[in-house]
Amino acid sequence: MRKIVFVLLALLLAAPALSACGGSGDSGADETFKVGAIYPMSGSNAFQGQQCMAAVRIAVDFINGKGGVQGRRLELFEADAPDPNAAATEAGRLIDQKGVSVIFGSLASGNAIAIAGVCEKSGALLVESGGIADALTDQGFRCVLRILDKGGLRGAAGVDYLADAVAGRLGKAGDKLRLAIIHEDSSYGESVAAGARSRAEELGLPVVYDASYSTSVRDMSALALGLREAAPDALITVNYVDDAVLLFDTLRQYGAVPKVIMGCGAGTTSPKFAEDIGVDSDGIFCTDMPTNLSLDVFASDEGIQATVTAFREAFLDVYPDMAGGSIAAEAAFAGAYTFLDGIAPSAASLGFEDLREAALSIKLPLTTLGFGWDIGEDGQNYAAAANINQWQGGKVITVHPSKMKNGEAVNVPLPIADI
């Protein structure tokens, strides 16, 4: 009897250890493929962070519905990171304690850089579909795969569009357009502004006002006064949502709204921006990832077309009042879904090196964002490009490039322009 008890006890103690033996490998048939998602679910970026998390859940559900990756069911571990410190801590927790080998993130560039630092040391991949700071792919991280364009390119794209398509409508030659740049001062804002500044210099466009601010700013009157004094034709601005609204309100109050506003990124493209600003948002441009594209854009691949349709329906189930779509969520879905459906199944194994090798070697002509997948050695997707969108009647309409556009630019100059 004692022997039986001893054997049972030994088996009981050994069971977890035995089951863990297969944990470090990546070929266990009934094992799950553990992936993580880190987004700001609280704090100032939570509005979009929660949408991104919902989008990743949908992507994981879709893949599990198709049988998982390489026969392994996906197990998603979620984490809230309102700031870079929390992002680094949560990345460490997910990798070390939960055993995830891929993290989807991060919405904010600061968070993305913090997560990348942890992933680099721990041998996990970061599939980034929100942070666009140049620094993320300029620092030599091997763990980063960024599906979107990067900040510098986005700022340049905004300036190009202003010079090519807007200056003429203001009765100005492309190189005579007077620009102002106002941006929040994190790595995201700095990257986009640097790209805009540099392209303006290349094209010979005068930048008559250039200022940055912290997102914790409570009073933007100094910016409005400076802008009013400089009297630019067009304002390029990079913000998050609440500071974008505060900036716009202050410009309105101080009679400092320029003829053209080109927002770049999260702030001006958020539905919350148009909701708060109301009809005054009509005509404001926003350079960002493609969003709410016509299904015709995906006509070349019926599978992706069906996936986009299914995602939009699933997202509407979670956010019934967001019929206009959410750029952040669409990007988060694209990052997770493309990686799990188009890359991971073809990798030799689900280990770091094999997944990275597959991500860099596979070229996809189309993703659910309308552009392709072509990751360079630095982890940047060189098939990605920003679209020029515009708020029209409370909806984001793509006005450039021509292959993706679903409307023409209107309200140039802005009906509410003061200067």
Binding site: F47, R218, S221, A222, T250, G278
Partner: protein, 292 residues
Amino acid sequence: MEQIAQVLVSGLLSGGVYALASVGLALIFGVVGLVNFAHGEYLMLAMYIAWLAYDLTGASPYASMPLNLALMAVAGYLTFRIIMARVINADHSIQMLITLALSMALQNLALMLWKADYRTVRIEMTNQVIDAGFLVISAPRAIAFAVAALASLLLYLFLQRTWAGTAMRAVAQDGRAAVLMGISLRRVYGQAFVIGTVLVGLAGLLLSPIYPVFPLVGAGFSTLAFIVVVLGGLSSVPGAIAGGLLVGVVESLAGYFAGPAYQQAAYFLLFIVVLIFRPEGIAGGRGGERRR
């Protein structure tokens, strides 16, 4: 010149609200001797009440002011009775930890109740301006400044002209002597806590048409209020008002001349300079910084 005048006016308007957000903290510290780290969370609470009233009934924060202030008074009273009264004689470090815990609890309660979304009160007045010649005066900021000035004046009159106010000043100066004069410390502490909470609530509701509300909105204002109060002389109500106005003006001037990125650096620099050359603050008595 016109621009400078505009910058100064903008700074004073912001400073008025900063002052109002800070006088409650100064009052509570001066009378109760309590460093309330949850101060900003009461501002957040008042902003949420204003938003709820707007969202449910369409009432502007000015229309819902009486209800909002009444609820803030109840919140202040309950906080004092249930939590603060139990630690009023405890060590300062325990008091600070309690208020810190309260701050986190309130933030998480807000997160649970209203999620992390930004909530905005977009009344018609949000973007209206008062035309004052060459000056542009934002209507909600002007109202916030005027109400803040009125509230500060009423607080001053209360402290100077009423028996309860005199009792508060007596407790602030010497608690033991005040007890010997027949003043109930517990009652005065409670009154000061409730008034301090109502004042920061008033600041919150006045800010609601200008800034969005979210669970962490109070944290930023808490830091600012501490700077203002220390600048003003810790327990001095007039000092807190002067400190608030000074911070507003410095912030605005720095934003215009050095760039908005330097606004916060400017008032932190001012804070350091004042502490080096006048550690008792603008209106604090010499040695006042060591009194408690």
